[in-house]
Amino acid sequence: MDTKIVEQLCGKYPSDFKKADVLSDPNYVFVNDPSYPATTLLDYDKNIVTVNSFLECEHYVSGGWNYLPTISLESEYHLILFGVVTSLIFAQSIYKIFRKSKLT
């Protein structure tokens, strides 16, 4: 998982950070960190989960709860812009060919 996205959603990595070993311990319970502000995470289907420690947040984000509404929205805008620009290029080229054939 890209640490950039983790930092974007959960904040900076604590200096003494150790990844939660959840896989080897099915009864693992995340301990709340009172100094950590509760953070809401979303998955791609926009389901919501609230996490209460950096460890928990990192675990969820690594597991796919990394949907960023702003980034996704902007990416959609970029995609739309790309579509508009390429369509314009295509339309202009077709028009040019059409006009040339009409002239000849």
Binding site: L73, E74, Y77, H78, L81, V85, I89
Partner: protein, 653 residues
């Protein structure tokens, strides 16, 4: 459709384009703008929800009251374009941030530029363009644009909102945008290709820097023609090899270096970093742009029209003066000027055109321009185009005399005294040369001019020891003990010890002192830190990163440029490069000495002197204008300054 009708439609389109982007908003929401007061909580909560037009309708006073400032927020979402992205108060000043997403801005600015080009009537003679070479050049210049962004990622990270510049997809988007822009601009230009050189003065009005980008529209255009010329025309392999080796060596020299530079008023024609990547890219760009310009001039020089260029100089002079003044008094117009005309730096906020300092000395007013000095040089050339024909045909043209008032006003406001003195001297010498008077009288007059120049400089300056030492003193005063530049070390070890070095440096210092450049050139030498390679071959064109970041100097009041294109050239091309340039220019002048008319010699002298004392070469418009004028002088057989209307007609028997 008649040309007048087409122009009218074009102008209406321009106005619509200027207005439309600021109306984007969700008008179905319940958010209505509030009056701007000291309580700005409403605008802090509702960011990117109100369009600029909604805001202005509610707060009309922000358009003209000078304590409001419109700023551009390039790092904003596309959905925030044209909306109020924030409002802050600092002291009595309010700063209204407008969302101007860099990608959308690029498209809007280009559309504005294309409509402006379309106002020019297409050429009768069509310029033949080979389609294959055209397509290759378009692809190359668009790819190069992506490379330019890739080389300056750190600059663009702060300007492209959530565009991941480490992802290939982002470059595909940038390539598509650049291709669309290039294609449309080039199509419009090719239809008017023969006439283009006559419209160079408009480059000072439509400056063309993309909002939020360190790129300029003209850079893309000239680079395209450079590529076209490279693919289509035969180019001397000697030049190609020399350029390739230089680029290679400059890039190798820059490996390991990473110096940042804030482009400020040079935005769009200077690199923002000094690293091997930027050195390579900006060097290729420089050669590409130069080649493109040479190609345009070579192909279109025969279509040079003195009347048309004069008209265009007058229009651009009037428009720059008017927009400069309107911008200085109306914050909204200043914002519009900056955005649509692509200024490198916002126009001045100084509304008092005739301001004097405590010593009753006129203060320079830069108005629309980024630099008052460049403004003065531009107005100086406009004056030449108007006055020389009058002097030549000794026929007073009332319209020309009236129109010359505008560039004269511009020159006075810019307070560029070098240009003023040069013009007066040039016109006087021209009259002396053309009027049939006694040679003795001419000699007396020349002597009088020399004496008055000496008096103007001040006799005491010639005997004042500081005049010959000022740069040496200033360089040492700006230097810090723990970090002195290699060139300052050289000066300190040779000045006053080696006679030849001391003499040459003292002459140079005196020139700097007379031109009021002691501090700036002293500061330059405190910073100039070349190694042997850079000393001889330079660090690569259009790159100030190393000069401004490698060596620490004492704090300066602002980012002070060297104020000398000659010194810029030394940084870029080293002593060898500058030596070659001087040699080429001198040999051309000597070779053509019998064919050169006075006006042409004068314009060469005008350009050289201005390049010694100003940064003009670092602005793409000045670089183009000077290159164009020098090209005409050396390659065009007809006089540049003509007045076909008042030219006496010769009767044919």
């Amino acid at each position: 459709m008649t040309k007048a009708k087409q122009n009218l439609i074009g102008i209406v389109c321009l106005f619509v384009l200027i207005l439309i982007p600021w109306f984007f908003s969700n008008y179905s929401d319940s958010i209505t703008p509030e009056l701007v007061t000291s309580d700005l909580s409403f605008y802090e909560i509702n960011t990117c929800k109100l369009s600029l037009s909604e805001f202005l309708i509610k707060n009309k006073n922000t358009i003209y009251q000078d304590h409001y400032n419109f700023t551009l927020n390039h790092y904003s979402s596309m959905s925030c374009f044209g909306k109020i992205a924030g409002l802050t108060q600092v002291g009595q000043e309010f700063y209204i941030a407008i969302g101007t997403n860099a990608l959308v801005s690029m498209l809007i600015q280009s559309l504005f530029f294309i409509i402006c080009i379309r106002l020019i009537k297409p050429s009768k003679e069509e310029f033949y363009i080979s389609n294959t070479h055209h397509q290759f050049s378009l692809l190359t210049s668009s790819l190069f644009f992506c490379l330019l962004i890739f080389s300056e990622v750190r600059y663009y990270e702060k300007n492209f909102y959530l565009l991941d510049l480490s992802s290939f997809n982002s470059y595909v988007l940038l390539f598509a945008i650049s291709y669309l822009i290039n294609k449309n601009i080039i199509d419009a230009l090719n239809a008017r290709f023969q006439k283009l050189i006559n419209y160079i003065p408009y480059m000072f009005l439509i400056v063309g820097s993309f909002s939020g980008l360190n790129a300029n529209i003209y850079m893309l255009i000239f680079f395209y023609y450079g590529c076209y010329s490279l693919f289509k025309e035969k180019i001397n392999p000697r030049y190609l090899y020399s350029a390739s080796f230089l680029i290679l060596f400059w890039s190798i020299n820059a490996i390991g270096d990473d110096f940042g530079f804030k482009p400020d008023k040079l935005r769009g024609f200077t690199s923002s970093y000094f690293s091997y990547r930027t050195v390579a890219v900006w060097s290729i760009l420089f050669f590409g742009v130069s080649l493109g310009l040479y190609f345009i001039f070579k192909k279109t020089a025969k279509h040079f029209d003195s009347e048309l260029i004069k008209k265009n100089f007058i229009f651009s002079t009037i428009l720059t003066l008017a927009l400069g003044y309107l911008g200085s008094t109306n914050p909204f117009i200043k914002f519009i000027n900056y955005f649509f005309f692509g200024q490198e730096k916002m126009g001045t906020t100084e509304a008092n055109l005739f301001k004097f300092d405590q010593w009753y000395e006129k203060m320079a007013w830069r108005g629309y321009f980024s630099s008052a000095e460049t403004a003065g040089e531009f107005y100086g050339i406009a004056i030449m185009f108007l006055i020389f024909p009058i002097l030549k045909y000794k026929k007073l043209n009332p319209l020309s005399l009236f129109l010359v008032c505008f560039p004269l006003l511009g020159l006075y406001l810019s307070n560029n005294r070098t240009v003023s003195i040069l013009l007066v001297a040039g016109f006087v010498f021209y009259l002396l040369k053309t009027i049939d008077i006694n040679a003795k009288f001419k000699a007396v007059f020349v002597l009088l001019v020399i004496i008055s120049t000496v008096l103007f400089i001040g006799i005491d300056k010639f005997t004042y020891i500081y005049s010959y030492q000022s740069i040496y003193i200033q360089a040492n005063s700006y230097s810090v003990e723990y970090d002195t530049s290699t060139y300052l070390n050289l000066i300190n070890s040779k000045y006053g010890i080696e006679k030849v070095f001391t003499l040459l440096f003292s002459i140079f210092t005196f020139l700097g002192y007379v031109l009021n450049r002691s501090e700036l050139w002293g500061l330059f030498f405190a910073r100039y830190n070349p190694n042997y390679f850079e000393y001889i071959f330079g660090g690569g064109p259009l790159n100030f990163g190393q000069l401004y970041s490698e060596v620490d100097v004492k704090e300066t009041e602002s980012l002070l440029f060297p104020h000398s294109s000659l010194l810029s050239l030394i940084v870029f091309f080293g002593l060898f490069g500058v030596g070659i340039l001087i040699y080429k220019l001198t040999s051309k002048l000597i070779k053509m000495r019998k064919r050169l008319i006075f006006e042409h010699t004068f314009i060469v002298f005008y350009i050289i002197l201005n390049l010694v004392k100003s940064d003009s070469i670092n602005y793409i418009h000045s670089f183009t204008l000077y290159y164009f004028l020098l090209f005409l002088v050396f390659n065009f057989n007809k006089p540049i300054f003509e007045d076909y209307k008042n030219k006496p007609t010769t009767q044919v028997n």
